[in-house]
Symmetry: D3
Subunit: 237 residues, 6 copies
């Protein structure tokens, strides 16, 4: 099976990190095909950058996806996820929906920890739009510096993550934590050593879910919201 | 006061129709400045075309909006509305939020009639995202042909609209109807002759709301979701 | 255009303050017609006083409203708002619905600050009844003394308001504040100097909304909840 | 125990019918004290008449209630229920809350059948305000003529009620029916013969609930929404 | 009238305490018939013990209930409550639904205080399942030791309860407290001396509600969720 | 990997059918270990039978599960699912949660078709309890005869299923169908030939999800609702 891991931003280092995580999560026999949205923004840290990502992401994937069995959109956001689901006939999975689908059977209520306070409302909107609000205890944030700036040392990031998780556990009864941003995924293993809560790393869930769907012959329904657009795709350019 | 009426698609005829409606709704002294998203899709009839519209819309408006007092996004969709609100310091209003804000005090529950059945889930998601689900009795659709194809004669469109409105009144208790698409706006006056329900034409509401906000010195909050993106906008290109 | 500003309580000083605010918010050419509910309670600070206000308010407005183009009910409560909408054929707007309609496009989630802790449940019920709960982060209160007692110095009230707004921002992510009571309206300008959140003064919004509705020929629907009562109004006396 | 059965409208025939039903439902030793709101409207069939009822209801009950152990507000509406709860220190129960409280343990979802189509939105608002929306399958209506007009023969009313109940069972899965209006209460027994659903007659529930609360020493909480108004009640006149 | 008080666990001391409370709450002429689930777990402190209780509870009550007029399930949980309602034709009432039904008319929003932190999610699920989430401000817990261990002195338990109630009042606006566990019921009277909130002791409410239903000839509807199982009960053994 | 497929009822034919489906869905290298709840009811077709299943299911699995890597509870119900999650340290997955988790990314809103009309409220409660109500368009039912009676010919069952799916598509906008009962699973393939909606067969999803969780080292959180019961399990017997 070939699985496309599509990074919605243009930062190759994030693509590489995602590819590594995806390969670690994939079943034997699954080939991970990384892809970077070269015409996208350097990072998705706002609604504006989200809008900058969607067009080239959707247009490019229409072509590229011919050669794979399923697509994982490797960012914790929205940017054209629905557009790609409409345009393609193979399973398309975003990180937030995969993470919350896997979290639901494992917990009472989850917390999502995102990369910066300004992404909290963005992430709350995602949870709400995907229909998981009844299971979300809280959305919280650490304060990572912008991509490309000096990343703090890993132990410091992990301590911050653990503190937010602990706060959500104490104040809102969260018993599972979702890492809400690709940049946070590499810290999952270390965080698991610092909290009694289950920690969900979304990319692994999305890889597993995409594999499962492809194997079972399932993909997004074409009988409603994700039916193919009414015109040939080229006419929308 | 100068008000930008930004058509998110590239079809000039729709821009023109919107400009006409906007001028009819505007207060004396308000100048309507129409704008067409030339790099956008011909119509927004799907999630894919929505994604095609957002990038050029947001990028262009950043420049153009320097010369106006408020912006109305003249389509009944999402396509980068939040991005424009983030990027600008003047009021930015979309048709759905203006229509529902005006509908709320006037009714028990409203129906939105959109242009084609496939836009029903898209529109339900909009209602939900904007927080008006508690007031929405139903989303229904007529079946307009694609833009550019032969439009049915006006009386036929009006009859279809009236039938959907009557059905929502009878089956879901709707007492107000919102026209959910710029293409439907020109039929508002005729529809009012065929139904006892109040009919909301969203562009007029958006013009009035944008004027009011500009006059009162209000605009979207910069203390949360719509704070300026963390980087200079050019870096996201 | 003539706009009735109806104070639901009998305190003339509040009517005067509302008239001043309304004139400042109105468009050129709008005449503000203030009215005081002389048979109402001195203040609406409870469910009991709310019930004392409704009867004379609704009965009087039926007559008075013949001479105006729209009615603004100038209090942040319920007291017969629906009754007046039923009885009249011109737009009738309450402060809470105007404030929340204007707030919705400008923020992620709003806080309402009301005049005393005991009005918090009353105000929560209002928000819920009007269908805006999904957008309300919190309802909080300052502790104004009863009307007619010594009002604290303005800077002190503003400091209290700013503290509640800041607390709602920090603890619940509110990015916009609504002043939930006519007595708080005069502090709006000063409060804007003390908080990064957008501050909504409801009377200005209600005036602008009522003007817009009257100009666009819209009023509450008569096809459902606000249909005229089944009997001549006099029979209900 | 003495139980006040307060009819919010001025129609003595309804008071009498309520008193008869209340006596049939009361425990041995409970004295039913009927009261008519002589300064209220002849019937509550609209928001306007609801507003006409509240003032005299609340003012009168403050005095009368000194001589009883609990109060039942014998109408299926809102009209000052909260005001009476604030003003009094004995249990005050409205029909809608008693009916829904008794219905909740007995069913999956209930239907409320009200007296006329125009009371459907009014009743939906009641259900929502009292927090029972999650258990309400539907609100439906028969079409009784105005009070004082010729009432249709009982078997015809019962047939209409049974038809609405059957429709709610078939289309919305309702398994219990609440009669939403004092005028419908006398038909409860006959309706039970025509439907497999449990039929709730609200006045009997309210009598039983008020008796239980009085016996157990419970009444509405004075620690929040129903705390006594801040001023002596006479000052609100 | 004979009322079965069914303790879902096998601890006789709890049965005895419940019987005492039930007798104090019952009307004259009501005979309280206590019953202990001898094949059940010693306590219901988890989902596992809940599952251990249901089978013998449901099977036994089918027989025993032939001799009574109504059944009260005397624990604050779920364990087969629906099964018993299906199997029997007389009213069956659980403590949580009785407590919340009585609380609804008496407050704005209630807090439930349960016996240990691990029962908070269990109790939140109960509230949600019974449809009362809109009225529940919070679920909190004291930390009682396991049944059979040394119970702390009563004043200490009461102090802990009062502290949780006060916290829910201050932080979530709760104005009524429900004791969420039979073990807490004996502290109700003392707690009432330490808090301005109304305190609901669920067993008393359930006794009163069961008596009322039996007297009024009401029981759970057999037209839906609680219809008799399709096969003779013995076949499920 | 060894996966336990636990049939909550005692009908071996259903266990066998589930094992066959599970083997078809499993990855190479996964061993399917079927298990029948011999002390359970012959079928779970009611709340009563649900209660009959839970005790022996939970007690038995505690022992058996020592020898497997994950557990799938192969019925579309609740019966002790939470108890098993509490008691075990390996992933435990029920069919409803697996089906809805997989459905969420693939559709706008799903319909669940269950085996008989009386299971509709039971299934609605499941959807609600698991937090997926926002994504559920409808729950509908075919009318299978009791287990053990003559099953109708397969084409007839498929026609009934297709009719319910089509009705949910037309009336509620469902674009994906979940088969809500193990007895329906064998018809999934044939149903796919008769409807444009995506059809989810829950057992396949549960197998894939359980495999994924086991491979990724995830299981239900022990930091909240599913923490081990406070006492040694044997004490609850």
């Amino acid at each position: 099976m070939r699985l496309l891991i599509a990074n919605p931003n243009r930062t190759e280092a994030i693509t590489d990190a995602c590819a590594t995580l995806a390969r670690a999560a994939a079943s034997p026999g699954t080939e991970i095909v990384p892809w970077t949205n070269r015409d996208g923004p350097p990072v998705i840290d706002s609604l504006y950058s989200d809008s900058m990502a969607g067009r080239s992401l959707a247009r490019s994937l229409v072509t590229i996806a011919q050669r794979v069995d399923a697509v994982v959109l490797a960012g914790f956001g929205s940017y054209g996820t629905g557009a790609v689901k409409e345009a393609l006939d193979i399973p398309v999975i975003g990180l937030p929906e995969a993470a919350m689908a896997f979290a639901a059977p494992l917990c009472h209520r989850f917390v999502i920890v995102t990369t910066s306070p300004r992404m909290i409302p963005y992430t709350q909107d995602l949870v709400h739009a995907l229909g998981f609000a009844a299971r979300c205890a809280a959305v919280r944030a650490v304060g990572l510096p912008p991509v490309g700036k000096d990343e703090p040392p890993a132990p410091e990031v992990v301590r911050s993550l653990a503190a937010e998780v602990a706060a959500a556990h104490a104040s809102a009864g969260a018993d599972l934590a979702i890492l809400g941003g690709s940049r946070l995924s590499p810290y999952a293993a270390a965080l698991r050593g610092c909290t009694p809560l289950v920690v969900i790393e979304p990319l692994a869930c999305a890889v597993a879910l995409a594999e499962s769907l492809a194997r079972l012959g399932l993909r997004q329904s074409k009988a409603g919201k994700f039916a193919p657009p009414p015109r040939p795709l080229g006419e929308y350019d």
